[in-house]
Symmetry: C2
Amino acid sequence: MSPRTNPRAANTPRKRVAAIRRTLRNRTLQKNASIFAALGDPTRLRLVAALCTGSALSIAQLTSGTDITRQAVTKHLRVLADAGLVHGVKLGRERRWELEPSRIDDARRSLDAIAQQWDQALTKLKAFVER
Amino acid sequence: MSPRTNPRAANTPRKRVAAIRRTLRNRTLQKNASIFAALGDPTRLRLVAALCTGSALSIAQLTSGTDITRQAVTKHLRVLADAGLVHGVKLGRERRWELEPSRIDDARRSLDAIAQQWDQALTKLKAFVER
DNA sequence: ACCGCACGCAACCTGCTAGTTGCATTTATT
DNA sequence: AATAAATGCAACTAGCAGGTTGCGTGCGGT
């Protein structure tokens, strides 16, 4: 048997196996993954933190205090923008970048969902054990 | 002047520039970045979701329903474990993996901090504008 | 004792990602 | 008009991350 077609393992009920498979195939998470991926780089996370301090900042400002090039910062901003976490507006000869707080909330909701689902499963399990 | 030593841009007060630089150099975020990076892959996010459904699952179970190899799943679990999001216990000839919900909370707190900081900055700005 | 299942380890391939350098373009400033 | 500032664009490099294949190992059931 091919190693990837592993129908059932141990003694897990078929229904649960089906549920797990459904979860594993779920496509809803694909979108949220991009947000986490965007936040998953230390440099980018620092950029986000810097933008949290309030006003919209230019690339030059965001580059100052970093040990990478301005172009590298530009690329990171591009990634963050693609994830919808940030957007920039042209202002004269510079471009100011600011946060998109709604996306942060999206990510937070996603984590909330995970945590909640886990808690729920835990209480169910507890109920089952204590029955 | 080198393009990376860009001391001040536009007409931003020096104090704020210093604050931004401090934020950009902050190392506290480094750790959280690894959590987000771990969650930043669709496959891994699905694994987490599958583990949310309750019981601890074996690698074979987690592989079933995916179109990747068992070894790929193993690697992803390794990444998740390195981020502290998951841990496995040997159980006979198989190894069951389960969530570490405290780390999820860590990530959530991190996002909360960002959102809160942003809100705070917003209200400050609003207060300034409406003065 | 034997066979099969679940897993670990190591080597390898491949594409993307972070980062750089060099140059062009637009906008202020004097 | 000329210069400097802030940014954009393109090509290039190096390294890592996701994925596979192949094989070895330990545990379980019969």
